[in-house]
């Protein structure tokens, strides 16, 4: 990497920029705007649209500024008559084949071609021939993309973004010259990520959103800056509504760390807000099991009675890690101060110990790391999980940075993923053996270089071969990774939720980080979380052992496992599930169903009738993202403020208001509050949050150690009988964070619940993509279509988490590390 500086003159103004900067970027820095179509930050240079031509002293012809790097003492002119004339002529060329159907086009009003013609363009066209028409009617490329090739300006942004950022490359430039059309293979329906990046980058109305088709004009829309609620990447998005209906979510390139990037869930999952299936009023269960609407006053009165009846020891609460920081803070305050219990959790899936260890190892308690910093490290290691589907935008960022910088990307995960194609080395570990994998890595590092460090003595007794036998990764591959780690100047580690779920590898990771800090010095750990505000939930102290700001709790409570056990024994009089569907997520469905039925008074507050809701005594409606103000902390530790785009409908209330009123009812001095008041309190209580100003900031929190990490270095392969599959679960590309099932668009993309296996396993079973198989374990059977995932080894299967009606957690056995299932092809009778 060159870091030299170059000084040049642009329109007579002197600017100094980094060597290798493009003239276009340098001009922007100097304050001159050069129009362009084909240039797009983060994409490879193309120089095809010729809009950005500039005059350079000493060069006879005009040069495209978007692919010409600066040179010392260059004298560039961007506003001469020649340049202006050329711009106008280029636009005239583009318009010569443009249908000019702006009144019909959805892009009208926010179209780059319109803007540029208005600014630079000819006022009159001289082209009198027939225009090229690719087709008469717009055609549909996917359930979310509709295409009109006639309007295309052939900038190829869509083709490049699909290949270089999204990593699919399903779009191509078909044809030649004016007949070129950026489209799918033979214009067939796309089988892709449906992320809509091609729509977002398209400067004209060639790629359009199908759900937004002919719904509104840009000037009709009321917009608000929000944060995506589907995963912990925490992408910034702008929600826009017309009337009371939210009609689209867009990524504003000038706003937020994700710039233009969004995935299918973020871009098209907004329609959950408009869903008809939402809970609209408080409902109370009658004797006969049916629900009857009640007023809020009555509902809160019932809640108060139940809390007082149960008493602090027999009460508990689980809040979803998708709520805002303010809501989570108030929830734990309500549980601790009003109810008087520390029985609470922010998840239904892993234990409190497991999360403590993960917080410690991934450095969550000590402030944030930017995903860019992590991705730009010399060596990037992804541990566990399915990054490409669980955190799609993190995957995009890693891919395009890797494509541009050619740094080493290593993936160690049980399942194949899209990012594998960018990785220098991608290894498949046996599920729940991340610990063994890291231990092998440690041993390989010690073999190569003598390190004397506390905690490393035990490593010396291990052998790489033995450990590689456990985690299923070739010993040579482990040594290759170790060699790369030692020569790297900086290392980025992305730690997936598998480590939390299986309570696996946190100790080893902490040791690895310490070791690398001694040798490499610059180590950045980024946790990959699947719930939008999991990190915020921990920061806010929604944890049985931790109070806000990672202060150890004076009185420890039960975590979700403890709560379920307590309920099962009949010792729970009151349980408050705030946005969390314990029944659909807890890794033992039969057990938790029994437990919930034994709870004295179950209150479920949620936006939809989740699995747990029908079991509740009291169901309360809840406002969702886009309907409330607040802050969210993403996996990087970035605190982002979100605004409401509209008010919640009818009787729907925010959790903040509910908790405030319920608390006030029981204790007079518990305040009914607004988000701003809670935020002020959070800033006082949580270290790091005090420095957060404005819309977006990293919290620089630091806190005391939350867990003692001592690796045991004893490993075993999780049990699995011959021919069985380890069943993994998590977010699916089109299904995550519970809400997606109620989004009509995402439901259409998903089609339904699937079971995902590798191609070798599919061959063994003799099934193909879409064939039905029967998944069976613990006496429960489910017939599901197969999806084949290249790169997933035989013996590993995946089912999306929390899919109503096809519950993956029915197959889980709480007492086993990784549950197994049998899968066999399902043949219809008579075949």
């Amino acid at each position: 990497m060159t870091t030299g500086l170059v000084t040049l003159k642009i329109n007579g103004r002197e600017v100094t920029v980094r060597e290798g900067t493009l003239i276009l970027d340098a001009a922007k820095e100097a304050g001159f705007d050069i129009p362009t179509f084909c240039y797009q930050a983060n994409l490879s240079g193309l120089g095809s649209c010729r809009m950005c031509l500039v005059e350079i002293e000493g060069q006879r012809k005009l040069q495209p500024s978007c692919i010409t790097p600066v040179m010392p003492d260059m004298n560039v002119f961007t506003e001469t008559d020649t340049v202006k004339m050329t711009r106008s002529a280029m636009l005239e060329f583009l318009l010569s084949n443009h249908p000019l159907d702006c009144p019909v086009c959805d892009k009208g009003g926010e179209c780059e071609l319109q803007d540029l013609v208005y600014k630079h363009g000819p006022r009159k066209g001289r082209f009198a021939e027939d225009k090229v028409r690719h087709h008469d009617k717009d055609y549909i490329l996917s359930p979310v993309i509709v295409k009109n090739a006639n309007r295309c300006v052939q900038c190829m942004r869509c083709v490049r973004v699909c290949k270089e950022v999204v990593g699919r490359g399903v779009l191509g430039a078909v044809g030649r010259g004016v007949h070129q059309e950026e489209t799918s293979f033979l214009r067939t329906r796309l089988d892709c990520d449906h992320c809509g990046m091609c729509i977002e980058v398209c400067p004209v109305g060639s790629f359009m959103r199908l759900p937004y088709r002919y719904r509104a004009r840009p000037w009709d829309l009321v917009s608000a800056r929000s944060v995506c609620g589907y995963c912990a990447t925490g992408c910034r998005l702008t929600l826009e509504r017309r009337g009371d209906t939210v009609v689209r979510a867009i990524a504003n390139p000038e706003d937020g760390f994700n710039r233009k990037l969004l995935c299918a869930r973020g871009r098209f999952g907004y329609d959950v807000m408009n869903s008809e299936e939402r809970i609209k009023t408080p409902l109370v269960k009658e004797r006969d099991g049916s629900f009857r609407p009640v007023s809020w006053d009555r509902a809160l009165e019932l809640m108060k009675e139940a809390i007082l009846r149960a008493g602090p020891e027999r009460a508990a609460g689980v809040a979803s890690a998708t709520l805002t920081n303010e809501e989570l803070y108030l929830f734990q305050k309500f549980m601790r101060k009003v109810v008087g219990t520390a029985n609470m959790d922010s998840t239904s899936r892993w234990s409190a110990e497991s999360s403590l260890k993960f917080m410690e190892a991934a450095g969550i308690r000590g402030g944030g790391t930017s995903v860019y910093q992590c991705a730009e490290s010399d060596v990037v290691v992804v541990l566990g999980g399915q990054l490409s589907e669980e955190n799609p935008v993190t995957d995009y960022i890693l891919r395009y940075i890797n494509g541009a910088r050619r740094n080493t990307l290593v993936i160690a995960s049980p399942r194949g993923m899209k990012l594998d194609s960018s990785a220098q080395l991608s290894v498949r570990t046996v599920p729940a053996t991340t610990g063994a994998f890291i231990a092998a890595l440690l041993k390989a590092l010690v073999e190569k270089k003598e390190v004397s460090m506390e905690g490393m003595e035990a490593v010396k007794g291990l052998t790489v071969e033995e450990l590689s036998g456990v985690c299923g990764v070739n010993a040579d591959d482990i040594r290759w990774i170790a060699a790369r780690l030692l020569t790297a100047g900086s290392v980025g580690v992305l730690a997936g939720t598998d480590m939390l779920r299986y309570d696996d590898g946190a100790e080893e990771l902490a040791l690895l980080v310490r070791l690398l800090e001694n040798t490499v010095r610059d180590v950045r750990v980024l946790p990959l979380l699947d719930r939008a505000n999991q990190r915020g939930a921990w920061d806010m102290g929604v944890h049985p052992y931790l109070e806000p700001g990672y202060r150890p709790a004076q009185r420890r409570g039960h975590d979700v496992h403890g709560i379920v056990e307590l309920a099962d024994s009949g010792g729970l009089g009151f349980l408050y599930l705030l946005g969390e569907d314990v029944l659909g997520l807890y890794p033992d469905r039969a057990g938790v169903e029994r437990a919930l039925s034994r709870v004295g008074f179950l209150v479920v507050q949620d936006s939809f009738m989740t699995g747990s809701a029908p079991m509740a005594n009291l169901v309360l409606p809840m406002a969702m993202y886009g309907e409330k103000h607040g802050t969210m902390t993403n996996q990087e530790g970035r605190v982002q403020r979100m605004e409401a785009v509209r008010r919640p409908e009818g009787e729907v209330r925010t959790p903040l208001e509910t908790i405030g009123r319920a608390g006030n009812l029981i204790e007079k001095d518990f305040p009914v509050v607004r988000p701003g008041d809670v935020w002020k309190e959070i800033q006082k209580q949580v270290p790091g949050y005090g420095e957060v100003r404005g819309m977006e900031a990293f919290k620089g929190a630091s806190a005391d150690q939350v867990a003692e990490l001592k690796p045991s270095f004893s490993y075993a392969v999780p049990e699995r009988a011959e021919g069985e599959f380890w069943l993994l679960t998590g977010n699916h590309l089109f299904h995550g964070a519970r809400l997606s099932q109620h989004s009509g668009i995402l439901r259409e993309l998903l089609g339904g619940c699937v079971v995902e296996i590798g191609s070798t396993a599919a061959q063994r079973l003799g099934v193909g993509e879409g064939d039905m198989v029967e998944v069976e374990a613990r006496g429960y059977r489910e017939r599901l279509p197969v999806r084949i995932r290249e790169g997933t080894p035989d013996g590993v299967a995946f089912m999306p988490e929390n899919f109503d009606g096809k519950d993956a957690n029915r197959f889980f056995d709480k007492d086993r590390v990784v549950s197994t299932v049998r899968i066999r092809p399902y043949k219809k009778q008579g075949e």
């Binding site: 191509g172 078909v174 030649r176 799918s184 293979f185 033979l186």
Partner: protein
């Protein structure tokens, strides 16, 4: 695409290139030789063999006039050059003449599936204009009489 072609791509074409996708054009040429044009399945197969996306293969195929993507052609594919030199030397007249002789329009195939007539860009033989290309062979310095002879021979 049959097994033999697949083996030929793997064995003969691929070793010539450093990256797999570079073998795209040569492979397409090979596959097209079989029935004269490329089907959807052919392109998908080539893409799979060469680690490409099908749309990339299609894009290559539709860029060059020498590939017939999803366009069945007759046994003899007559390609008439319409660029400057040939036009000046009477290429357009040659085209009209062939159309008259075969009774088809440009882009069409004769009823007996013997001839397909199309117009192409420069064939790179301007010195001997006008030129037509029938399958892989060039016929140069054409006159009406020569064209008649050629077509007679091929009939």
């Amino acid at each position: 695409m049959d097994e033999k072609t697949r083996r030929e791509i793997e064995g003969k074409i691929l070793p010539k290139y450093r990256t797999r996708r570079s073998a795209c054009m040569a492979s397409m040429q090979l596959v097209q030789r079989q029935k004269g044009y490329l089907t959807k399945e052919d392109m998908e197969e080539i893409a799979r063999l060469l680690d490409m996306e099908p749309v990339e293969v299609e894009a290559v195929g539709k860029f060059y006039t020498m590939y017939n993507v999803e366009r069945p052609v007759g046994r003899y594919h007559i390609q008439v050059c319409e660029n400057l030199s040939c036009s000046l030397m009477g290429g357009e007249h040659i085209l009209k003449h062939i159309e008259r002789l075969l009774g088809i329009k440009t882009g069409q195939t004769t009823g007996d599936k013997r001839f397909t007539l199309s117009v192409v860009q420069c064939l790179g033989s301007c010195g001997t204009a006008p030129v037509i290309q029938v399958n892989d062979d060039y016929y140069e310095n054409l006159t009406d009489k020569k064209v008649e002879e050629i077509l007679e021979r091929l009939k």
